[in-house]
């Protein structure tokens, strides 16, 4: 017999997004279950031993595990005290499906495998997906050559060093200047690995400026911009790589090739939201964020499924650079999921939604959420990224139906830095068909 656990809210993933979602769902009265495939709560933060987490939320620079503890300890306490929260650790959700409840509503059923509990299913009216993101691998990056041992993604290298206590090699080259790659350059250097340099195909670093300074400049590690790795050499183990300068389109310039000796190549070429479960449940992904399309509470926005309670938060929704915002999105989703489940259980009709699409105009990479439910009222948080550096800053105008909902000036705008806006939903005019984000130069946008 496969055992079955019923909850009001089920949270998949015990990283910062899932922890916040579960805590806020439980605080709002929902019987909440967390399903996490690893043996410990905390998600990716367990291996992020560097500090810099929690500045926005706690005003302190915490190490990753320290930040995660603040939430994980509360979850453990809530679990030991009562029935509201249950945590299934070492449990992997391998499939999700829908089931119709006696009252005609939808329920989500998760099929799980766990070392301790064997095979079990968990079911709930509200489902919160907090599955985080995964790293792009060399398969998705175009490199010629053999595939010898010694090629690692930055996250894997981080796991080896910080969790297993193993060094990946003696002399490393880092491809890609994303934050994890920069952090690993410093980490490897401090562990005694020679870090030959970081190579970035773009003309500017893709990580935060502070990480370029405190991870590379502090230790004299060279950052080679507009340069990439074109080949990996070595039979069984990496012996070296060929690097080459690239032109504006990112194409290697003939004659600029140079051989670099190394036994380790670390790839820090980006993260992709993890959404297998969302896709298996029929949710469409936004091509810009690679996450599902949601409203300001993280609730799925597919209009034809108006009675459904799937919520998405954290890195599963879009790749965040600050964990503080990951926690914020988890809280919103958890609370909304609890209220949704309660209403369904009590047979309260689901309020009509008034989903207005958010359109990020030219100059933006994306904006999240993709819809604002005007019927919800109150405040809504919008996150966005620009697609190119604006060293002179700019003015972002949120407009709808001819009205200006919000205008905000920024001293600098850079793609690695996600920005946050809070809008007053009531300022969106009735009958509006779109909410648009427009970017203007400082002078123009002033409207004075």
């Amino acid at each position: 017999m496969v055992s079955r656990k019923d909850y009001d809210v089920l949270v998949v993933g015990g990283g910062p997004a899932g922890l916040s979602a579960a805590l806020s769902a439980a605080e709002n009265g929902a019987r909440t279950g967390i399903i996490e495939r690893e043996d410990r709560l905390g998600g990716i933060l367990k291996q992020c031993v560097h500090d810099g987490f929690g500045l926005v939320r706690f005003g302190e620079q915490l190490a990753g595990p320290e930040y995660a503890r603040r939430f994980a300890d509360r979850v453990v306490e809530a679990t030991s005290k009562g029935t509201v929260l249950a945590t299934h650790l070492g449990a992997f959700v391998h499939a999700a499906r829908r089931e119709t409840c006696g009252d005609g509503g939808v329920r989500y059923v998760l099929e799980c495998v766990s070392r301790d509990e064997g095979v079990f299913v968990a079911a709930a009216r509200s489902l919160v997906l907090a599955t985080g993101c995964r790293e792009r691998t060399d398969r998705q990056v175009f490199i010629h050559g053999e595939r010898p041992a010694g090629v690692f993604t930055a996250g894997l290298a981080q796991h080896l060093v910080n969790i297993e206590g193993l060094l990946p090699g003696h002399r490393a080259v880092i491809l890609g200047s994303g934050d994890i790659g920069l952090i690993m350059a410093r980490r490897l250097f401090l562990e005694g690995v020679e870090v030959e340099g970081v190579y970035e195909i773009k003309s500017e670093p893709s990580g935060l400026s502070r990480n370029v300074r405190q991870c590379l400049e502090d230790f004299g590690i060279p950052l080679n911009l507009s340069t990439t790795v074109t080949a990996v050499h070595g039979d069984r183990r990496v012996q070296g790589v060929t690097v080459a300068s690239v032109d504006r389109r990112g194409t290697p310039i003939p004659g600029s090739e140079r051989y670099v000796e190394c036994d380790t190549l670390v790839l820090s070429v980006g993260l992709i939201p993890e959404n297998e479960l969302a896709v298996s449940l029929g949710l469409a992904l936004d091509p810009a964020t690679r996450g599902p399309r949601v409203d300001q509470e993280g609730r799925m926005a597919e209009a034809e499924r108006a009675d459904e309670g799937i919520f998405v938060c954290g890195n599963a929704l879009h790749v965040n650079d600050l964990v503080d915002y990951v926690s914020e999105s988890g809280e919103q989703a958890g609370r909304a999921a609890a209220l949704f489940a309660a209403a369904r259980r009590e047979g309260v009709p689901i309020p009509e939604r008034e989903l207005i699409p958010v359109k990020a105009g030219s100059g933006f990479l994306y904006a999240v959420p993709q819809f604002i439910d005007r019927a919800r009222g109150g405040k809504a948080v919008l996150y966005f990224r620009v697609n190119a550096t604006r060293a002179e800053g700019g003015v972002v105008r949120v407009a709808s139906g001819g009205a200006t909902v919000l205008k905000k000036r920024y001293a600098v705008l850079r793609p690695p830095e996600m920005e946050r806006l809070e809008i007053d939903v009531a300022a969106v005019p009735e009958g509006a068909t779109q909410i648009s984000l427009e970017l203007a130069d400082k002078g123009e946008g002033d409207g004075r």
Binding site: D51, G64, S209, R213, D218, L322
Partner: protein, 123 residues
Amino acid sequence: MGAKRKFVCVVCPRGCALEVETDEGGLLVGVSGNACRRGEDYARSEIADPRRVLTTTVAIRGAALRRLPVKTAGAVPLGRLVEVCRALDGLIVEAPVACGDVILRDLCGLGVDLVATDSLERA
């Protein structure tokens, strides 16, 4: 002759690009580019004595995991980070450890403690 230097403030994720002017004696004359007061304080200490918080891991015995994440409770001189790391290479901590526990007092005579940044139970 004074000097002008440009560096990024690392106090918060905003990462303001500071322009820092010093006089002949190496003392701070002026800072621009900082969005808040902390940027100025940072520039002052960065010029006189750059310091960083060290985050790393140490070996642990008796827990389900092999490494315990740690940090220095305060900033240590940038130029001594490598030396401090090597000094920790041989250290083995005994589980259980709670987040915030002091692992070593007065690390390398720097007047700064080493503290745990995670809790690891006895397995």
